[in-house]
Symmetry: C2
Subunit: 760 residues, 2 copies
């Protein structure tokens, strides 16, 4: 009976799929899992709380307090070149350059119980298993792999808050499903703060795990349900320093004892299985309580039909992908839809089905009329990801802005988030780019909340004098180099952020605020050293710092970049930047230099987060600060160079291979860059309603807007060589200024590019 | 204006007090704070959540994992002989033999900031202060002391959930109020699991502290409010291993930084003060959240009038004490009312003003129609404390039983509590004496809940085979000595507990349950060795263990006692015990021996929890197992010996001096023994509605029952020498069987003792 229902469900879904294009087929989550991409191949739902994915190693973040650089490649828990899988854990970042998560690692095994993970070179010594990519499938919302050591087939899917596992076992009386509550990504000795578990009955386990990691005070609650009862279970507490465990003489706490608590716990659940018997697990998360985790599970998966869940999740993905329907080569479709997939992974839902979530104040809140989100990697995502959301995820983006406002309301610092992570701000990276996201969302009409209160929050944040030298920046117009090693990039970033506040103030007729912040928007000029033609650190006495190397990424006043890339960071006023730098001709040559220079080997030795492949000339695409730079030719007399460069970047930096991302995907920013550029335009300065025009890679794109209208991009005479734009019309009228306004897109219409292999 | 209001409040209270007797004057919390009593002198409300009291040292529970025996005397955080006070913390146990708590230690200081507690021999090296008992006052609900090092007067009072401090400062620009979030009683290296603090504004601080101690998973939330704004504040995080603190370069987290988290935090708040300026603090606790702590504070103390709070709390105490009004010598009144005070400290309220509490499952629950309690030291308190509640705290006792039932409902083990401590069971001591408390409460008519469900919970607990050898006990009728070193006391205690279940089953007409448990109630016989006349460990093969020493408290099969004391532990069937031991004559001689023997020095060397003063002959009053024994003469032909002994015990074991308690008060059990015995009767077997009659110490006692009736005990011809009871009448009728039934008391009436210096 169940089989028939599954088949019917399948057929119905095929019919439904047919009404939208099957775009899920172009999503290859394996792209970017080798080397620098730092994405994971496992199963997740669009913007979902759960990211159920295989972890291929257990390298700690630090040993005896000392940072271990080998951990870096495991930001997503998975590296394509690894030969073993340790287990499947339920939370992962996508594409970050630092990490956390990897909570609740589950691993099916057969044979003698081994309560340690083993090592990569000796997998049989522990519960991990060898595997081969030949027996691995990764799709949007679905992952499958054969675990070779014990001949178990593992399949994973996920709804928003629940991960679902399906394990096909051989015949055995010795199956053990491991639940490792010690495991984690970027783990270190004292990272596990506390773990609490209740074995409620022989199919239900609940509890929570609390960590001190990148989220300083981070607790995740869970409910784990098995499709059939376990015959027994046990645990081991690996913490030698835990004095109080409950009186151990009274009962054996290691076997079949249902009240468990400690810092370092591993559990196992025992089963008998027939040949090819499938044992399934539903694993729900909650930020708030075990009760809510159970409720999430009951609401999202009230049955045991794995295929049904997989189909539903893939249909959800397909619906999201159909927001932009393109015609392009197969490889380009793979790159495009994989990018859309990566762009719709975070920010992540951080709220239970009943609306409750954990606030920044560590108290339980109820979200009234919005979905609460976290995982705001704002230094990356303000640039193109949130602007993309203002086209095809306007409702979600409105909720994301609302989440930021709630964070502000709960903050004793009275600041918007810098980097929001599970009821914490980890304050990572620089700037206060939430103001850019908020301004862009309001100016582009996405935000449904109180815009004036939002502006107040932006202003309070930008006036927080005690935060990262903002006081100095306000008083002097720049930050003295003696104060911090990122004085210049801070000033440039604050300057742009302040400009977005001014735009928002202008829209809301708050003239005083506008006047205050439009002045601050010019402070970038204070770090420009005309004598060398670069942005340069300035000392407290007003002189520029003597030692200066425009190529070096260390000690030059810039975060994760060098002066060559950062000197172009005045996205809100390229015209003034060009003037300041000496005019269009000089500026054009500078850009040319950037894209064609040869970098010395020393550059690569000292720089993280990118590879040689992430660089074109000296232009670093693998990290964010230069993402707008290729479009700056549009402000010179040689806009055709923008067209050539962006097509070049798309070709070089995005490939449909495991190693296909030249740098960390950074929670979707790299992907969002690609999506815009493929369609032929890019938001150089979010907060402005203008997009700068580049060179589309697609043959055709239809943006199916949430307001029901469609914006179509038609590309005539498209080919690999035809990178130059001969002409553009918008709804029949000629477009000559290399830009298009947001209002034109959202009212629907048609933009026609005619391409050529020669530039104008 | 405030002063006038205070005076008027004062006058009104005097008038109100006048309508009840002023009994608070007889309460001396200092009694028992020297050596063994383990009580604290600070301020608390009847059954209150807060116990705001001075801590006089900081000895850790363990160092490098090794137990430190010096910690034992600091179970209550205070020892009378100490010369310094470290600070005032908000939670303490009263009279326990193991410990925890001491959360949120506050200390006012002046001068150079010192963020360490200093040492007892060098108080000036840290924030602690010297003090003298000459400048110390301890009353019910009020504590005062002069801190000599900085010349600060400290006063404390408390409502149920809020501690209030009033500090009178000298003139200074350098006042610092320390908040030590690392401090605790029975502390050890990794006990502090996590601490989180928000400085909400310049008068309000909230947060929580989470420990792994005697309560394995224990979190306390707080809200701290100052009567005037602090001018600045700071913190220091003493955890060298905490890697993630939030990005430190961005702001100075040590001064005026309002978002704080870590394992080892000390904070300070800075003030300027005028000469004799009073700075006050309201410090509220909650088991659930910071929001609830604030609400508790607003509900319980919505103003800043310290005197008003003190008066209200003392009036609450006085109302409680007036439940039994006695006429006796001044010293005896002091002993009696101090005992009543100690008897009404725990169990403690564990619920917010909105009814929410943290359950055993670590989830938030709402108490529907009852007050939730914790701190159930059941091995001690089932004997006389809860029986006392069935006379003068029936509503509270009903709620306590309800709390136990909720604990059972939330338990994955499906057991009633053994030792309930702040949303944990620490499973301390032995037996499952909650069943005795529940049976007694139902049989005596206190419990308002579902009695059959309560019986079900008792039965499930007593059938928990895997808990501390209950399975063996069920199967064999005794526990094999090879299984545990407390095999005999377990059997004796289970046997009595089972008898109480049988009584409850009989009352509820559950015949099958009655039959099952009345059989088990006889299992004590299996450990009786007629060849030696003592209870003795029995091996798995059915033979008694060869090595046997009836005086030794180690390895003889008894918890915290020896065979000499435990062999009398068949409180539910003294008649059968006497038969089994060979008849009344032999039994009487045995009791005589117990009370007159000389103990060897080795006994004292190997035994904790009592002193020589706690012992009469070989009878150990300082610990609980023998508390009923002096009454057993009533089952012999020489009941007058009961009368002599109980008068002797009262005289020797209870004195109105700091060293006045011969053993740990054990959450009120020692005190309850005294209260009953002073009035002339004692509940030898809770679960039975009978009280065994002894020899009253009072001249007169009026029990003002909650049902509005009064039971009066009149004692004629009373004196120190007149310890023997010549005759007793109850409502005019003669009482000849040395017992009185509960029903006689609660319907009101008059019992008249006529005393004599000669026995019958």
């Amino acid at each position: 009976m169940k089989r028939i229902v599954s088949i019917i469900t399948c057929l119905i879904s095929i019919v439904v799929f047919a009404q939208k294009k099957n775009l899920v087929q172009y999503v290859k989550p394996i792209i970017g899992t080798q080397r620098m991409g730092h994405v994971y191949p496992g199963a997740t739902s669009p913007f979902g709380m759960v990211q159920l994915s295989p972890d291929t190693d257990t390298i700690p973040y630090a040993v005896k307090g000392k940072y271990n650089p080998d951990v870096y490649k495991y930001c997503a828990g998975y590296q394509y070149d690894d030969k073993t899988i340790v287990g499947f854990s339920h939370t992962h970042f996508s594409g970050t350059g630092h990490s956390d998560l990897g909570d609740f690692q589950v691993m099916p095994t057969v044979g003698k119980l081994q309560l340690n993970p083993g090592t990569a070179d000796k997998p049989l010594s522990g519960f991990r298993s060898s595997f081969s990519h030949k027996n691995e499938v990764a799709e949007a919302g679905y992952y499958k792999v054969k675990l070779d050591d014990d001949n178990i087939l593992a399949e994973l899917t996920a709804t928003t808050r629940v991960g679902m596992h399906q394990y096909t076992f051989p015949k055995t009386n010795d199956a053990h499903i491991i639940l490792d509550l010690m495991a984690g990504i970027y783990n270190y000795e004292d990272k596990n703060v506390w773990t609490f578990v209740r074995v409620v009955n022989d199919t239900l386990v609940t509890g929570y795990k609390q960590n001190n990691g990148w989220g300083r005070t981070r607790t995740v609650y869970f409910a784990m349900s098995f499709s059939k009862p376990f015959k027994g279970y046990g645990q081991k507490n690996f913490d030698t320093k835990q004095i109080y465990r409950g009186f151990w003489r009274k009962f054996n706490q290691e076997q079949n004892f249902p009240e468990i608590a400690g810092k370092k716990i591993r559990m196992y659940f025992d089963f008998d299985t027939e040949e090819n018997e499938k044992v399934k697990i539903k694993f729900a998360l909650s930020p708030v309580s075990q009760k809510n985790a159970i409720e999430n599970m009951q609401n999202e998966i009230p049955h045991w039909d794995f295929e049904k869940v997989k189909l539903q999740t893939q249909e959800n993905w397909n619906n999201e992908l159909n927001k932009i329907v393109i015609d392009a080569s197969n490889d380009n479709k793979i790159n495009f839809y994989t990018a859309m997939y990566h762009a719709f992974i975070s920010p992540t839902t951080y709220m239970d089905t009943n609306g409750e979530y954990k606030g920044l104040d560590q108290e339980v809140h109820k979200a009234a009329g919005f979905t609460n989100y976290t995982t705001f990697s704002l230094w990356d995502t303000y640039r193109a990801l949130h602007p993309l959301f203002n086209l095809v995820q306007t409702n979600r983006n409105s909720d994301m802005v609302q989440s930021m406002i709630e964070h502000y309301n709960q903050s004793t610092l009275k600041m918007l988030p810098i980097w929001s992570h599970y009821a914490n701000d980890n304050w990572c990276m620089s700037g206060y780019h939430s103001v850019s996201v908020i301004a862009d969302a309001i100016i582009k009409g996405s935000y449904k909340g109180d815009a004036n209160k939002a502006l107040d929050a932006c202003v309070a944040t930008a006036r927080k004098r005690s935060y990262e030298n903002i006081g100095d920046y306000i008083d002097k117009g720049y930050i003295a180099a003696e104060k911090t090693d990122i004085s210049v990039s801070n000033t440039l970033e604050y300057s742009y952020d302040d400009w977005t506040i001014a735009q928002l103030a202008k829209k809301l007729n708050r003239q005083d605020i506008y006047n205050e912040f439009i002045k601050r928007a010019d402070h970038w000029k204070n770090n420009y050293d005309a004598s060398v033609g670069f942005m340069r650190p300035k000392l407290a006495d007003g002189t520029f710092k003597k030692e200066f190397d425009e190529l070096s990424t260390h000690g030059q006043g810039f975060i994760e970049g060098n002066s060559w890339n950062y000197s172009f960071f005045v996205p809100h006023n390229p015209t003034a930047l060009i003037d300041t730098m000496g005019g269009k001709s000089i500026f054009t040559k500078k850009l040319d230099n950037l894209f064609t220079m040869h970098l010395p080997d020393s550059f690569f030795a000292e720089t993280e987060d990118i590879t040689r492949d992430g660089i074109i000339g000296g232009y670093v695409h693998g990290n964010e600060p230069a993402h707008h730079v290729a479009y700056l030719y549009n402000w010179t007399n040689q806009p055709w160079k923008t067209q050539a460069q962006v097509r070049n970047i798309m070709k070089m930096q995005y490939k449909p291979t495991p190693d296909g991302l030249g740098g960390n995907d950074d929670c979707g920013q790299m992907s969002a860059w690609y999506i815009f550029s493929s369609m032929g335009f890019y938001p150089v300065a979010p907060g402005s309603s203008e997009y700068s025009i580049g060179s589309p890679l697609v043959n055709n794109a239809k943006i199916n807007l949430e307001n029901g209208k469609t914006f179509e991009i038609v590309v005539k005479n498209q080919s690999d060589k035809n990178v130059f734009v001969k002409s553009i019309t918008l709804n029949g009228k000629s477009v000559n200024n290399h830009s298009i306004d947001h209002s034109e897109i959202v009212k629907g219409g048609k933009m026609i590019f005619t391409m050529s292999n020669k530039h104008n």
